[in-house]
Symmetry: D2
Subunit: 301 residues, 4 copies
């Protein structure tokens, strides 16, 4: 394996991949020059190895000379390599229409979803193409916003859905039901409904628990609750979680994975439950979930 790069440089030699992946999509973080450059370099590396490559539009636009097809949400790829951070991976995960394995490569500080650093990009890919990886299934939540009059919008989130008041609005009132059982009427800044994957994101900042990624649950965590006895609540993800906005005349938003948003009106109903979709994260290291936690949260050891 002398030809394999161990640093952040593209290898000079070409080897035949032994794995099962034939068509690879590459997505670079929007507005990151380094991500675009790395994407172009990676595309060439993959093509030299005989793989078909699809590139996201920004990269294609920036490097028009690349031998690559445009990547679409329904593109027939076997593997997607994301170059960026957790945010880029979240947006790719939300857009995929079927469970394609995703390898997340972080160009900055390591994330919870993108555990491969820039320097490990090619060594990791060599392992992946050689079939030396495992797939970690991550479930998504389906979020539907019912506006009344039959208007419904729908998303699938890997981290969380957040219902929150705008900075200038006053505290809002929400009714929460789980499987048609009333949980309560609450006054708070908002509510986070998180997957186990998202439990280490916004949920953690708001005081929610950490969950191992494989659990079949959703966490409902209040943001700055006025009701002091309100605590994070863990329910089966097969539950139907419903939130109704009881406040009129205040600006309230639904945010998906912290990236997309939609305004929520008086009496609008948000319904959340397990999605049919899921995401398959490609893991090439022996690093456990707890290894990641320990280093990120500086737990001793």
């Amino acid at each position: 394996m002398a030809e394999e790069p161990t640093r952040a440089t593209a290898p000079q030699s070409i080897a035949q991949p032994e794995g099962t992946f034939r068509r690879v999509g590459v997505v670079a973080k929007t507005a990151s020059r380094e991500a675009l450059r790395t994407a172009a370099e990676l595309a060439e590396w993959l093509v030299r190895r005989g793989l078909e490559v699809s590139l996201d539009e920004s990269t294609l636009r920036a490097r028009g000379d690349l031998t690559a097809a445009p990547l679409r949400s329904d593109s027939d790829v076997d593997l997607v390599v994301v170059l960026g951070g957790d945010g880029t991976l979240l947006s790719v995960a939300r857009s995929l229409e079927r469970p394609v394995p995703i390898l997340g490569v972080n160009l900055g500080t390591l994330g919870f979803l993108t555990e491969v650093g820039r320097g490990e990009l090619y060594p990791s890919l060599v392992r992946v193409l050689a079939g030396r990886y495992r797939l970690e299934q991550r479930s998504l939540l389906r979020v539907a916003l019912h506006r009344g009059g039959g208007q419904t919008q729908e998303w699938h989130v890997l981290n969380d859905a957040v219902i929150a008041k705008s900075a200038l609005a006053r505290i809002i009132s929400l009714t929460l039901t789980v499987d048609d059982h009333l949980v309560g009427h609450f006054r708070a800044d908002g509510l986070i409904i998180s997957t186990p994957t998202g439990s280490t994101a916004y949920n953690l900042s708001a005081g929610g628990p950490i969950l191992t990624p494989d659990l079949p649950v959703a966490v409902v965590t209040p943001i700055c609750p006025h009701t002091l006895s309100l605590r994070p609540l863990v329910v089966p993800d097969t539950s139907s979680i419903e939130i109704v906005l009881e406040t009129d005349r205040e600006e309230v938003y639904l945010t998906l994975d912290g990236q997309e948003g939609s305004s929520v009106g008086f009496r609008n109903r948000i319904q959340i439950g397990r999605s049919d979709l899921s995401v398959q994260l490609v893991k090439t290291s022996g690093r456990s979930f707890f290894d990641g936690l320990r280093s990120k949260l500086r737990w001793g050891g």
Copy 2:
């Protein structure tokens, strides 16, 4: 149903039970005169209805004239009625050797486990004996304390296992692993390992989340952690959770359901995972888990 009492008085008439329960055990809260009196009254009520009754030793001692067998942990009863509070039910649950349905009757403030009030005792029992009830399965955790030299003690808990320093001891150091993966080395007053059932007990006071009772998980919640980034952790209950005490010369205890205790020594290892045993709570009302939460925690609505 004119013969059914709707108040806290024993009915005068006798009716044939239509249910499947034939042998009923009755356990009264130790040291509660009211519980003993209610147990005696209940025993007579059951006998008049043609059921066989077993009574716990305290009640038998107090009312030696009762027509009842002594209740033992391996007694061949189909139903146990607990008269007392959540604490009494916890101790019965820990002592049972097979999953016998338990009806919890609360003689004081309603608990999370004992939802039937004193005034609903006989109406509830009539429903139960008529087969109008549902069983709610609650999983237990198996807790093993390995002292070294092959010495091991074992318990099965319905609420929680708590490793905590004594009031006079200084902060203690613990190593936590889950399925042999290191989670971290922590300094804290202690650690609570709770079932979903126990999540509304000590875990809640220590800042842990609330979990619906059916979830196949355990919660690990630190007590006053010195490591400020330490947060409650939810893991599958099929995991093997291990805690090793790394502190010498401080008094540390393992407490089971807040009722039994054992001293923990330097380098002792506590291993926790799903128990083979479970508890079946008898439910006669349409009250949901959330109804109980909402009224206890005074959530709006």
Copy 3:
């Protein structure tokens, strides 16, 4: 005192006030019909007792026939009666240019600032006019927003100043210094800087401590901090607290007492310290600060 009303009705008789207050301002909660009605009734009651009355503009507009002068921020009144809730009192407190005693009357649920209920309005006023009251001094914080280019806006708040991201924005970065000492660079949803008076408001929802109203301090409490070890910080109110927004391209707002807002730009500097102004709350009952807390937070006893 047979002529004093003990219910929510205006008294029919007229008595001479024995107190020192001669000119009374009355402010009704905007958009509350009940407040406007009560204000008109109160104005008549005061006039009948020989007092001069000034009324806020809304009330004057709604009841043009009242014998009252318009109330201005510099009006020469000795006492202001606020009819509404804590919110109305906060806005009056922010607008006053000198420390006029304020009697807060709550027309809904009792607040922390408006402890007199609708039914106690006239009995309380009779006590006040008879000189049977005490003044509780509440300090304000001066908040200056420096936008660069010499643009500065200034407010005086009784509860709090909040720097927070909008619902759709991502987490923001802030630099906090106290008396030119760097406290830290933080990532959070925002920061609350609260007076002791405001400690029971938004600060409490965000996890901040409760402070007795007389303390010469300010509390800095993070909102959903990404930095998990970040905790509420109590500093002398004579300190100069400075916050600089380090995030570009996200919508961030400064909110004053939850009522007024201003947008905050990249590198804008917010400077907070003790105000020269203060508020004098008129207290007619023997109710302590802790009595209010205990009943609002349902602490036992």
Copy 4:
């Protein structure tokens, strides 16, 4: 200043001290060989500089040949050098009968009270003896335990007084009053009453706020409260804080600075208020309180 050691070695030359300190007490951490060795070395260094030295008993016993008097709580020293950690300094502070300046030297990880590292011992002392230092006043709390029958014990604490149940006890009930005003009846594991100095110790682990050391306040922080709306409470240190234990038959302890303990019985009353005593910490660096916080709590920057 070539003769001054900049490392952890004793200087070879002798210089005349220019400062005002003439009689120095040295206290080494009990049971630390390194502390005893450093104390002996330091004693020689001080004697060579013409200062009178008093040594704590352990050091004297271990190094009988030293030219030093035994240090007593009423010894007539101008300065005490503590070699150990925050714990050693706390116990010295509690034992002093008048406000003698204390220089805390940490032989392990830097503490909040002992900011001088082993390597800065001699450079710091040279600055101190030359008069280049500032004194930071830290107030103490007076803690009196009234057992009934006129039995009273009294302590003066620099960090905190903790009332807490033993590990095997159940939750306890406490009544809290401040200046004879009832705050509430609470059920919790215990209560911490902390000085601003102690706010970064146990109080922080239990969820209490951080206070700058100069504030004239005390913080009352519940440990794992059963009453979920119970929050840390900041009151003037001139208040009389009283706690009465309402629980019978459970083991409860009062702990002073985490070092001394006393058992608390049913209906025993603990009274806490500002002490007449205070401690003067000797500061030789320009390091602010926030610099210490930031590095210990890993706040950015």
